[in-house]
Symmetry: C2
Subunit: 729 residues, 2 copies
Amino acid sequence: MNTIAPTTQRSPLHDFLAPDSIAIVGASADPTKRGYKAMVGLIKDGYPGTIYPINPKVDRVLGVKAYASLADIPGTADLALICTPASSVPGLLIECGKKGVKGAVILASGFRETGRPEGIQLEQDLMDAARRSGVRIIGPNTSGMFNLHKKVNLLALNNIKAGDIGLISQSGNMLLSLVLEAERNGHVGFSTYAGPGNQADIGFNDYLRYLGEDPHTRVATLYVEGFRDGRRFLDAARAITALKPVVVYKSGSTEAGQKAASSHTGALAGSYAMTVDLLRQVGVSVVQHSDEILPVAEGLGLLQKARGKRVAVVADGGGQATIASDRLSEAGLELAELSETTRRRLGEILVPQASLVNPVDVAGSSDANPALLADCLEIVADDDNVDSIFLVGMFGGYYTRFAEDLLGGEMRGAEAMIELARRTDKPLVVYSLYAPVNPPALRRLHEAGLPVYSSIEQAVRVLSALGERGIYLAASAGRQSLPAVTPDGAAQAAFAAAQAEGRDLFEFEAKALLRAHGVVVPEELLACAADDLAGIAERFGDQPVAMKVVSKDILHKSDAGGVKLNVRGEAGMRVAFDQIMASARAYDPQAVIKGVLLAPMARKGTEVIIGVIRDPIFGPVLMFGLGGIFVEILEDVVFRAIPLSPHDASSMLEQIKSRKILGGVRGEAAVDKDALVDLLLKVSSIAEAYPQIVELDLNPVIALVDGYAVVDARIIVDRASSAAKEGPQ
Amino acid sequence: MNTIAPTTQRSPLHDFLAPDSIAIVGASADPTKRGYKAMVGLIKDGYPGTIYPINPKVDRVLGVKAYASLADIPGTADLALICTPASSVPGLLIECGKKGVKGAVILASGFRETGRPEGIQLEQDLMDAARRSGVRIIGPNTSGMFNLHKKVNLLALNNIKAGDIGLISQSGNMLLSLVLEAERNGHVGFSTYAGPGNQADIGFNDYLRYLGEDPHTRVATLYVEGFRDGRRFLDAARAITALKPVVVYKSGSTEAGQKAASSHTGALAGSYAMTVDLLRQVGVSVVQHSDEILPVAEGLGLLQKARGKRVAVVADGGGQATIASDRLSEAGLELAELSETTRRRLGEILVPQASLVNPVDVAGSSDANPALLADCLEIVADDDNVDSIFLVGMFGGYYTRFAEDLLGGEMRGAEAMIELARRTDKPLVVYSLYAPVNPPALRRLHEAGLPVYSSIEQAVRVLSALGERGIYLAASAGRQSLPAVTPDGAAQAAFAAAQAEGRDLFEFEAKALLRAHGVVVPEELLACAADDLAGIAERFGDQPVAMKVVSKDILHKSDAGGVKLNVRGEAGMRVAFDQIMASARAYDPQAVIKGVLLAPMARKGTEVIIGVIRDPIFGPVLMFGLGGIFVEILEDVVFRAIPLSPHDASSMLEQIKSRKILGGVRGEAAVDKDALVDLLLKVSSIAEAYPQIVELDLNPVIALVDGYAVVDARIIVDRASSAAKEGPQ
């Protein structure tokens, strides 16, 4: 099975993402050129390493000695920034290799992303050259990179602060947008940025490992249009999220969006909902609005994670308390139920008209004493029912709104909040309607590492990310690896036969395989001829049975008249058998018919569907949902990468929107969730044990009050792998 | 029927929301008092009218001659601001009346919102005094009011611009938050603000009429915790939205939120989803995130409305083009399909690697010539397939990002965009990642009345509001009033009998009523005794029938063994009749049993549910949804206020999430939507014609490929109205 552990080897990306010397191929004195920008960025920011401008036409670029070619530089360069056109790149990489360059940033476009044969060929040539020369590639078609702690600012961005947010963005505009947002914020800074571009060589998984190891990066933040190797990304993310937060914005969330993404990067977009589920499975904080990326990254970097979802709101106005409550509920968070003690303590310091029930509304108590808000926060922080604390209102603006002499109280309140944030292990999230004007008390909070949000919606998104992260880390701490499953001999033989005959497994073979690995499948008996029915009738006794034709040539059994339900006793079975055979032969005279399968009718229960696919990006993935319209019309299904942990499996049952139905509705009893979790885990193990399975469908499974019944099972066999390879022993 | 038309009378609120003289009761020199703040606000802003500070302890307040009491002022005051405690208010209102004061702003809390008997009594006293004295009341428990075009700034807000957004907010913090957001925005200003507080006298509907008439208000923006008279608000909104945009943020969208709202204002919150549906029905732009209120109000005030949902995106970066596409789809908008001509024209001015398919990505074409973006916008604006235009990217920042000499091109581009916006009837929405730093080209756009958004999400919300408004206005222009329905004599008699007997209508009576008004209800025959069955069997022939017990004492017929399905022929009916009667008697020996109802079994189709309720806030409301789990588990239902227009009815079918099912899924044919629309309109008319109906439930209605079948009908009768009043003729 896939065991997931951080690689012990240090990422090779450090060698050139934190370079001691840089060659600028195409360095220029023309201010509209990237080769000029990069020189300016390095010089202005005081890059302490060596810069080698490469330009055959000039002696110096911006006062720095230039070289006619890479071959002419003394010594080596850790990194080469290549600003010249696409066609020049393969040749330049060979030169880079000769000089010992470790990594190259390729700005040019005109490669695979064009979708044209010559572009695809050029990217092939580029990668051939890269492999031969041993040079790693950032891009091509990248916006570039920076490492602000090394004063490497190849994009020559102005007013950008060094900080602890690492950034990987497939869109240059998105990078710029975040940088400008940080500039307005004033407190957020960045560590390393890289644009993966076409990911010809280095993919998101490699960049993520690097950011995971980079001591200057506290939060890894990624804008992703498409993963090249999603499975390795999941492995990397699982390792990194255990150490630091990873924030991902995945674009292409809708059909329209996916169209735009694929014309832009040529990457496979996959199903957005599936991607989000898999990323969350490995602890990634997925944000779904672009204006939430920076707030969430800032909050996850600075604040405590929350143990759970119970939020205490302290507000100095009822309206915003209500809005906060609305948004918390929408985000899946809860209003904590405050203890008796908490309410008593709040009552002692607040005016009588204050609301002591969460959301706490101080109702004017703080008008003349804004520091009182900090006292309230301290009281709710002491409450064991509270996982996180949310200050909502006008803190920071009392001195402008009410009276100037309240500034002292606000500053005292700010100090008390800073002290509280240090003392408690619960996150304190501050929203202030005065955040846009950044008054002194809020500035003080921000400087002390307490971010202040100017939108309730963004603050709630941060609370939600802190809760998700806390809950994920607690659940993954106890993550168990399930024992691997040994393939069954009979099943291997069935696969070999199916592959030899160029067909998928028969339903009875699929069910036999499932039974062999402990999945409860109701007994089924195959009647090859009518005479087999006597024994079968005896075996099933008085139970009503379902009868289904078995033929590799008949996929839609009902259409072929190949299904009879609620049949009882030998005589009835004989009539049904003859009818089925006659109908099936009439439907397709050429069909090879193996016989008729008989099984007891399933008991009444709730239809669910369990499926396995091998995704081209993410590998084996398990899907779960309720059957019928829920899967077909409402698309209410959830996904996990295989192998599943027990927590993964049980979280699937809680995540579907129609989960209430599993809990029992309209007077019906709840289904046996433990049995379903066990089934999900077994299916996960089976999918791992048999690489021959390219798709598996249990549809429907009837979830019962006690246990479940797998009514139909379908296994699509990998036709590519030869019968010999997977053949019978 | 309720005909909805603007009142021809001018709102009386003008008399005191635009006052020529103001008395400040409780005017003070103490900077922490509201009576000081208000004086400062008036004086600093240069209020040209007369100010009468009322304070018995001083001669002057801030240099203005003070009076010991209202009785002492010479002449009258249009408006009184009352800053004194709650208990003083009723007496002061009497004094106000004597001096001819037209309106009073009551800041004090301590009234109905406390939920305490003494508070409720005090509000009663206040209203008694108001009625006796003829003074209209803003509040109590209000944050106050301002009218910036009259220089009436009773809240003494700093840095607030006069403008065209009218604001009514039940939360003072929300007002402050919007004012600070406008300050940061720099271009948005306000006309009149009022805080309705407890709405003891003046409600949201009155304020909305005032803003509708106010020539300084271009957009009415409301933050609502609860309506007092929702029906009158809908009437007012329908009239005003025909003239100018109305933006509503309704808090209490979730259970948690509703709890907070009701403890805060004591208002009935109602169902949020229903409120949103009803507001949209009358053309209100409902926003659901607090950080979208101001952007949407600004956009609706300044930009053209869109004819439809088809958006053309012009971007200078693929990443943000993708994000824009994602968000547009999510918001229910569409990417316009650009015409051949448009693509050819774009192709002529863009580089070969540009994407000419919407979203248009200029792919570097504008790097050296930002004005080219305006050319692209002009080209897509000419396309008949395009309803609105969306510029996405870094416009305004080219001169910082690339080269300073690009500023000229940016300014030319801005002028061309301004010119385009004037020329075209399609909205041009601009998002720029440089909006946070407000560079010259963006400043120029903003000054010329083209707002620039700093978040793709907010820009998309604006596009969506512009599309909704355009579509609403087009649909409501042709709004037809349906002819009123005359109550049926037999139905009136049935109501009278039911009221006399203290019961609801029997199912057969409800169905007879429906039939009388043209609703297609399958024939049903009542067998009071077994001997009635011979004739009934003859009438129904070979059709299988359903049989149901009829008894006012048996509500759950199935539980009582009172239902038999698929019965055929007289013999079968006799057996079933005896079984039903025996079971029903066994179930409840006291039950009065009227007989057994027989009806042909419904044909196979799609279950839908139609209901009518009389909402305490909004009056008669019709609900529609799919039956079974869709209504019970997924709560996938939609609402419209009665009476419905044909557009209202057909829009219900399009709004439910499971609408795909009505269109035909899993190989089934589409249902007859015209028949359903007709049914909805008939039910609406029936609910209007019979005030005795307090609830009506058609559940299920089987929607068929041709027509529908009302399988069960339930009418709950108003027990309060006497039998005599509605009695038989």
